[in-house]
Subunit: 328 residues, 2 copies
């Protein structure tokens, strides 16, 4: 992937080397052929088939936390907390706005259209009738119908491609595949990177092959920094795509400063700043020239902050497409 | 919980001190009153209500991995991999054998009766009819009916109490509550500890309050050993209960040796030895005088290794109850 430039010269030498060594040392993606085929089909359909309307807009929504294995035959790993609620909710609003969505999500996290259902929805929402047929409980009937109907519509129209990951190795390999596949979609493509990506990892080759034994005494661990892929995404993988990343902090005092820093450092078009405790109520949309606070509509019980957020981002994306004047 | 002995004297001084400091430093359990009430009700019902048949047998099945938070406002944590399949399957067979089961499980892991269903079962198994009512897809009809029927039967008879946990702090606090509540059930109670419990943790008070910042350079971490609660469970919390723990290793060469060691060290009645790659095919039941290999019935497609395993353990438990000659 580094063949377009000389990885050993210029100011990005260290980053490039780090990234190369990250991908070289990563365990190979198990189903990469299958993922590649699905991606190509999905993106071809949306970039060519719309006739004189021009290509459709495509967004890659990343969602959920990545894991960092501490052992090759993985028993223990470090995880980043993320329910995947933001990514799942945003996916619904992007589909509603007509986007084709690649939903790159952590296995087992929140899925689009299922947010309002109980965790073990199958056992909680259904019952057997006396004739032993399965029926939805009255109390959950509306929520279940809505979920199935909306999900059906999205998949029927081919607007939703779900790609699961677990480890940071899987996540970054698939993200790179998506980014390279959408290169031709140019500015019509958006990356909405809501996944909570690990900052630190244990390089695969320096990892214990077997389960770490709990001998007496404490365990000391040294973790390497994950190279910042946002820069490469912007510069090499998909330079025309509209890129939105997230900054989550627990300390509100440093949040906006950190968001500004990420914006400049990784050349993002937008950074969404959110604080752990209030992230479902409000977020701040940070660009190079403004900070817009977006609130959940507190008059409506079921309103999501993602509703006004995605509306705003779609407008900004439209302006960006117009500005760049071309799809390539 | 340490009031029955002098924690500052005798050979267990260090362990007791470690355990005391673990519980003292743990963040308080949020819904402990509610859990305590449910537990009391469940155990009272099964230990007194069976009339002249004597008390029912109760098993506490622990299932799934525990997390170790690395930050107080938890964004990052260390996790132990475990799908919870073993615990969920075993719960089904214990219920079938007439046991009342406290299913102490990691949130989001595999649930009893749902093992053969797809991950997003609601979206995968159901469809809307033209009259927009919800119906189960033909292809999943049998599996869904079976799941709902069996789950309904188990809960109808009051044989299943589900208690969820996420962190090691929650897990060990609830386990202690369960153990102390079943004290009066004596030898009729079994602990079947299939959860993958972290060996290392970061003591709550030495934990970063806010998200760890990814500065430049690697991250060094020092983790303390989790005190071995199995010893306390056996000696103090529930000394008459029949105790089964698990030993999982990726390296078959050290597995049985480790299982033997655990048996002696923690005075377990049984240790189940399993290897990561073959754990769904076979396990070894290790006791002080035998090692019995239990295989899945390979002639049947859907057969679980838990079927013969639980059968064997129930027999051993029966012998133990007879041997101890009393329920108290």
């Amino acid at each position: 992937m580094m063949d377009s430039r000389d990885g050993l010269q210029g100011p990005h030498r260290t980053l490039d080397t780090d990234i190369e060594s990250f991908f070289n040392s990563a365990p190979p993606l198990k189903d990469s052929l299958d993922i590649g085929r699905k991606l190509k089909e999905f993106i071809d359909r949306h970039s060519f088939s719309s006739g004189n309307k021009g290509p459709s807009r495509i967004v890659c929504v990343s969602s959920g936390g990545t894991t960092v294995p501490l052992e090759q035959r993985c028993v223990r790993y470090i995880d980043n907390f993320s329910s995947g609620h933001r990514g799942a909710a945003s996916t619904e609003y992007f589909v509603k706005a007509g986007y084709a969505v690649v939903f790159l999500h952590r296995r087992g996290t929140c899925q689009p259209y299922c947010r309002s259902l109980p965790e073990n929805s199958l056992l909680e929402c259904f019952e057997l009738t006396e004739e032993s047929s399965v029926q939805v409980r009255q109390s959950h009937s509306e929520a279940v119908k809505r979920a199935i109907r909306h999900h059906h519509t999205a998949t029927e129209k081919g607007l939703l491609l779900k790609l699961p990951f677990t480890s940071i190795f899987e996540y970054l390999q698939i993200l790179r595949m998506v980014a390279i596949s959408v290169k031709n979609v140019g500015s019509y493509c958006m990356f909405y990177l809501a996944a909570a990506v690990s900052d630190f990892y244990v390089p695969w080759e320096s990892m214990a092959e077997h389960k770490i034994q709990s001998a007496s005494g404490p365990l000391d661990m040294r973790l390497a920094q994950v190279p910042k892929m946002l820069s490469v995404l912007r510069k090499e993988w998909a330079p025309m795509a509209y890129c939105i990343s997230f900054k989550l902090e627990t300390d509100p005092k440093i949040l906006l400063e950190k968001a500004d820093m990420a914006l400049r450092k990784y050349k993002m078009h937008v950074v969404i700043a959110n604080e752990l405790l209030t992230r479902k109520e409000e977020v701040v949309v940070v660009t190079s020239n403004e900070r817009i606070t977006v609130h959940r509509d507190s008059n409506e019980a079921d309103a999501d902050v993602e509703s006004p957020l995605i509306k705003l981002l779609v407008e900004k994306h439209s302006a960006y497409i117009k500005e760049t004047g071309t799809s390539n």
